[in-house]
Amino acid sequence: MRIAPTKLETFRDDFSYTNSDFAIERFPFPFPQDDYMYSVNIEPHTLPGPVDSVYEHLIDVDEHYLSEMRERSLVLEEMPKRCLAMPHMELACWDMIDRCMTTMAEDYPEWFSLTKNGDQWHWHNKLLKIEDTFTFGDSSTLPMPPMEYMGRQVQGDFALLDQRDGDLFMDAGVVTCPADWSIAFDAGMGFKEWHGPVPMANEMGIFDRALKYLCAIPVNRPVRRLNWTLTVNARMDTSPETYSKWGSDRTTLTPENIGKKIYLRVELQMMDRMPRSNALMMSIRTYLASMEDLCSNPEWARRLHRVMKGLPQPLVEYKGLTRYHPMLVEWLSQFDPVN
C-alpha cells in the first residue's frame, strides 16, 4: 500500500530523513549486474507499471512528498535563479502543467483534483493545501511563473528541453536537488554541451545514440533510465551552488559511521514528449537510501560491494568518491566474504 505523505523531514542540518520499510523495498536499485559501466540504459516507461513500484505512475508521489516540497521552497527562497524558463519556453511550461496535473489527478484522486471547463481550470492540491482557478495558457492568471508553480508541487527536478536542429537545449527547468550540476550555468546548452564534463561516455558513442533516440520520442510514449551516485548524508541539494556547504561532509566519514552516512542516490530520469511545444520534459527524480538500509537486502549488499570494488577510476573521480571510496568498499566487504 502506497503510504500517504504526512511526515515532514529535513534534508539538511539535522537530516531527519528516513525511509520506511516500504520505501526501502520499492527503492529503484540501479545495478542489474555485478559490474557497472555506462550504457544507453533507456527503456519505455510503460504505464501503469507494477502496483506500488516507483514505476507505477508517470509521476511517483511517495511518503517524502511534503518534505521534498518544503526543501524545494527553502532552496528557491535562497536562490530564486535555481528555477528558470527562457521566454520561448512559455508554451512548454504550460504543456508541463497539463501533463503533471492531469496525470496526478488521475493517479492520486485522493490527493489531487483537476477540473477543466474549457480553458478555465481548477486545481486542488490537498496535500499542500493549494487551490487555484486559472486560465490555461495565460501565465498572468497564476500566482507565480508556470515552471515555478508546477515545480513547487511535484517531486524531483524538472528540465524542459527545446528540440531544434537535431539537438535538445536546456532552456527551462527547476533544479533544486541536482547531483552536482547547475541549471544557471547549463541554461541554453545543447545535449552534448551540458554532458561535456562526463568522462568516457562520449568516446563510447553513448551521447550520439541517446540523443537520436530522445529526439524521436513521440507523444504519450515516455521513456526512463536510472542514474546513480553517492551522497554523504541525506542531502537533496548537492548542487555546485552550495558545494562549500556540503563538500566538507566527505571528511566526516569513519569506518563506524560510513554505513549510516553514505546514501545511494538514484535518479529516475523520465523523458516525455510535450504535445503543443514539442519540447521534451525531463524529470529527474531523486531517491535516497542509506547503505545500511540497502544492505538489509543481502542480494543488494553483495552487489553493492562488487560494483563499488570494480568501479573504474575515472568514474570514482567524476562522481566525487575519491576521498572515501576505499573505506566504503572495505565496509561493504562484510556482506560479500567470498570476494
Binding site: 559501466m37 555506462y38 550504457s39 535563479k81 547547475s182 544557471a184 550555468f185 547549463d186 541554461a187 541554453g188 546548452m189 552534448k192 554541451e193 551540458w194 554532458h195 561535456g196 564534463p197 568522462p199 568516457m200 562520449n202 568516446e203 563510447m204 555546485p240 551552488e241 552550495t242 558545494y243 562549500s244 556540503w246 563538500g247 566538507s248 566527505r250 571528511t251 575515472p314 576521498r323
Partner: protein, 183 residues
C-alpha cells in the same frame, strides 16, 4: 561493457578552434575584431581583398562592451546580403559575444568563423554567487563576488562565452593550492 575505447580526458564542452578558411564564394566578406591587433585577421583581410576585391570586403571594429556591441553590429550588418561570411578575432569571450549577437540578428552559426583566441584569458562564472569575471588567467581564482577560491574548469557555456568556477577547497578549506596559468 568491454568495448575498448580511446579515452579522451578533455571536457567536451570546451570549444576547439580549427584553422579558418576564407569562404570566397560568398558575396560579402566581413572581418570583426575589437581593435586592430589581430595580425592573422589582418592577413586574411588582405588576402581576401586580393582575391575578391575591396568592395566585397568589410572590416568592422566592434566594441567589446556587450550593449555597445549589439548596437554597432545591428547597424553595421543591417544591409548585408544572405551570402555573407563573417570572421571574428579577439579574446575567446569577445568572439562568443560577437557570435551570439550575430545569431540574434539572424545570422546562421555556419556563417560565422572564429579564429584561435588571441589570449588564454577566460571569462569565468562563479557557480556559487553567479558573479561573472573577465580576463581570468590563473586557476584557482578568488571570486570577486563571494570570495570563494575557484577552480577554473574547462566546462564552457557558449551562450555566456564563459567557463565555470567551483570552490577548489570545499572539502578542506585549509588547502590553498598555488595558482597555475591557464592554457
Amino acid at each position: 561493457m568491454t568495448t575498448p575505447v580511446e579515452i579522451d580526458d578533455r571536457v567536451k564542452s570546451r570549444p576547439q578552434y580549427g584553422p579558418v578558411k576564407l569562404q570566397t564564394s560568398q558575396q560579402q566578406q566581413v572581418f570583426v575584431s575589437a581593435d586592430a591587433n589581430s595580425a592573422t585577421l589582418q592577413q586574411m583581410f588582405d588576402e581576401c581583398t586580393d582575391i575578391v576585391g575591396p568592395d566585397r570586403c568589410l572590416w568592422l571594429t566592434i566594441s567589446a562592451d556587450k550593449a555597445t556591441m549589439a548596437t554597432e553590429l545591428a547597424t553595421a550588418t543591417a544591409a548585408l546580403p544572405v551570402a555573407t561570411a563573417i570572421y571574428v578575432s579577439g579574446d575567446e569571450s569577445y568572439m562568443w559575444d560577437v557570435r551570439n549577437t550575430l545569431i540574434r540578428l539572424g545570422f546562421a552559426p555556419e556563417q560565422i568563423q572564429m579564429l584561435a583566441p588571441l589570449s588564454t584569458a577566460r571569462r569565468l562564472f562563479c557557480t556559487h554567487c553567479y558573479t561573472v569575471m573577465e580576463g581570468v588567467t590563473h586557476t584557482p581564482h578568488k571570486c570577486e563576488g563571494c570570495g570563494e577560491l575557484l577552480l577554473v574548469r574547462d566546462h564552457f557555456s557558449t551562450l555566456m562565452g564563459s567557463y565555470v568556477g567551483v570552490s577548489i577547497n570545499a572539502e578542506d578549506p585549509s588547502e590553498i593550492p598555488a595558482p597555475e596559468a591557464l592554457s
